[in-house]
């Protein structure tokens, strides 16, 4: 990234951080959604009691919550740009369009990770009390969360840009985003399961799923990078 592009990247990211710190719009909406989802999960699983090892379904529950919570944040991420026509002022400046993509994706990734990190203790409190904990090193969970969130924020930023000017953008983003996320979601659930359950061969299984996630991230980010100039121009 050339010097000017790096400076512009930092400026856009800093601007998004300042506005989020001032309004708390994305983090509040995503955080509240994550907590409410977990409460609903807990109610749904109440009758299962001790008969169900919650750890077996926990990876799926976590990622369903994270995927839908990210939709809320992604929808919000371009609302600021649309307010008062700011996106036109940004596009009028001599900034390469991929720089906008990477900066917006980095901002979305950061907000997503913050909410994920805040949600996990709540999840553990609601579901893992009095049960066997996570057997593999906890950092494995951090690795899968980070890698999957890169894919979510990258693809999500591209799709949020595409849908921001459409009517019914909330629904449209979900309709396009969730099917595209299927391979990533499957791999993230697999890797999280291996990290949480542990046992023989679980670390190897974890890294096999991580290869999927890394491949998804690279391919989708390259596609998003290639398409972004066209998408934002349209």
């Amino acid at each position: 990234m050339a010097g000017s592009s790096w400076r512009q990247f930092k400026a856009i990211l800093r601007k998004d951080l300042v506005m989020e710190l001032r309004t708390h719009e994305m983090i509040t909406s995503m955080g509240l959604y994550a907590i409410l989802t977990m409460v609903v999960y807990q109610i749904a699983l109440t009758e299962a009691g001790e008969a169900l090892d919650v750890r077996l379904v926990m990876p799926g529950l976590i990622w369903v919550a994270f995927i839908f919570m990210s939709l809320l944040g992604l929808n919000r991420s371009f609302v600021h740009e649309k307010d008062q026509g700011c996106i036109d002022a940004l596009l009028l400046s001599p900034v390469d369009r991929p720089v906008i993509f990477f900066a917006k994706s980095a901002g979305n990734l950061l907000f997503l990770l913050v909410v994920e990190l805040l949600s996990l203790p709540v999840f553990a409190f609601l579901f893992l009390q009095g049960r066997e904990g996570i057997t593999n090193p906890i950092w494995l969970l951090g690795v899968v969360m980070f890698a999957a969130s890169v894919g979510i924020s990258g693809v999500g930023t591209l799709l949020a840009t595409m849908t921001v000017n459409t009517t019914g953008k909330d629904i449209l983003l979900a309709v396009v985003f969730v099917p595209l996320m299927y391979p990533l979601l499957r791999a993230a659930v697999g890797a999280t399961f291996a990290a949480i359950i542990g046992g023989p061969g679980s670390v190897e299984t974890f890294w096999a799923w991580m290869t999927w996630i890394a491949g998804f991230d690279v391919i989708m980010l390259l596609i998003a990078f290639g398409l972004y100039e066209f998408v934002i121009g349209a």
């Binding site: 000017s4 400076r7 512009q8 930092k10 400026a11 601007k15 300042v18 506005m19 001032r22 309004t23 600021h80 307010d83 008062q84 026509g85 700011c86 036109d88 002022a89 940004l90 596009l91 009028l92 400046s93 001599p94 900034v95 390469d96 121009g233």
Partner: protein
């Protein structure tokens, strides 16, 4: 007429066409504007005025034809051209949750302006907003937003300023301030202004253009225009009463 750093022609538009589906918002628009001129563009809603300005400011690509601004093609030289143009719109194009100073510093970074803090302070002073520099712009009145919008558009010292209905929604005091700011920088810039206000547009311009249904109905220097005939042409062509 003042001189900017665009040598020769500020605008060269040839056969410019932009279609949205089957509807042509612009249909073979052609005109040339000399450096330092002030062009007022008139026309009813849907005439293609905003589409024309969006193409000239690189926000939209044409479907056919070419447009050069300061000798730079709006498609192939877009990045270089963006250093040379500024846009003041009826929308302020400012982030409502940033302060006046943060907004200008952000755009200063986008344009790579050296000694940005000093430049921003000078501009805030010139638009009489230095006392509100630390306030978020969501709290600003329409007139204050428009003054800040002018400061944003002038940050990188553009050669050509595009004004898209800049007087829209301003009270008389804010209009006076905008008039005064335009008068201050008139000699150093080429202006292209979209206006629904014939009186104001003709008062400011050196050249006038009427656009209707995506086509140029009239384009001429103001000195060559008979104002009565111009107003009649405007009325008959666009079917609107004059301001």
């Amino acid at each position: 007429m003042g001189e900017t750093s665009c040598t020769g022609r500020a605008l060269e538009v040839q056969g410019l066409t932009r279609a949205f589906g089957v509807r042509k918002a612009l249909d073979g628009v052609e005109f040339e504007l000399p450096d330092g001129a002030f062009l007022s563009i008139f026309g009813p809603n849907g005439a293609g005025k905003t589409t024309l300005v969006k193409i000239l400011t690189t926000l939209l690509n044409p479907s056919a034809g070419t447009a050069k601004v300061c000798g730079l093609d709006v498609v192939t030289d877009a990045v270089e051209l963006r250093h040379r143009i500024g846009l003041i719109s009826h929308n302020p194009l400012l982030y409502p949750d940033l302060t006046a100073e943060e907004n200008l510093l952000f755009f200063a970074e986008m344009y790579g302006i050296p000694q940005a803090t000093e430049r921003v302070r000078d501009l805030l002073e010139s638009v009489e907003l230095d006392h509100r520099r630390l306030d978020i712009t969501r709290t600003f009145s329409r007139g204050m937003l428009q003054r800040l919008s002018i400061a944003r558009a002038l940050l990188h010292k553009p050669d050509i300023l595009f004004l898209d209905e800049p007087y829209s929604g301003l009270d008389p005091h804010a209009m006076d301030i905008l008039d005064s700011l335009i008068a201050q920088i008139r000699g150093d810039h080429t202006f292209v202004m979209i206006s629904h206000d014939l009186t104001k547009g003709l008062e400011l311009c050196s050249h006038a253009l009427i656009l209707a249904n995506g086509r140029v109905v009239l384009f001429d220097e103001k000195d060559a225009i008979d104002e009565g005939a111009f107003r009649e042409t405007y009325r008959s062509t666009v079917g609107m009463g004059v301001a």
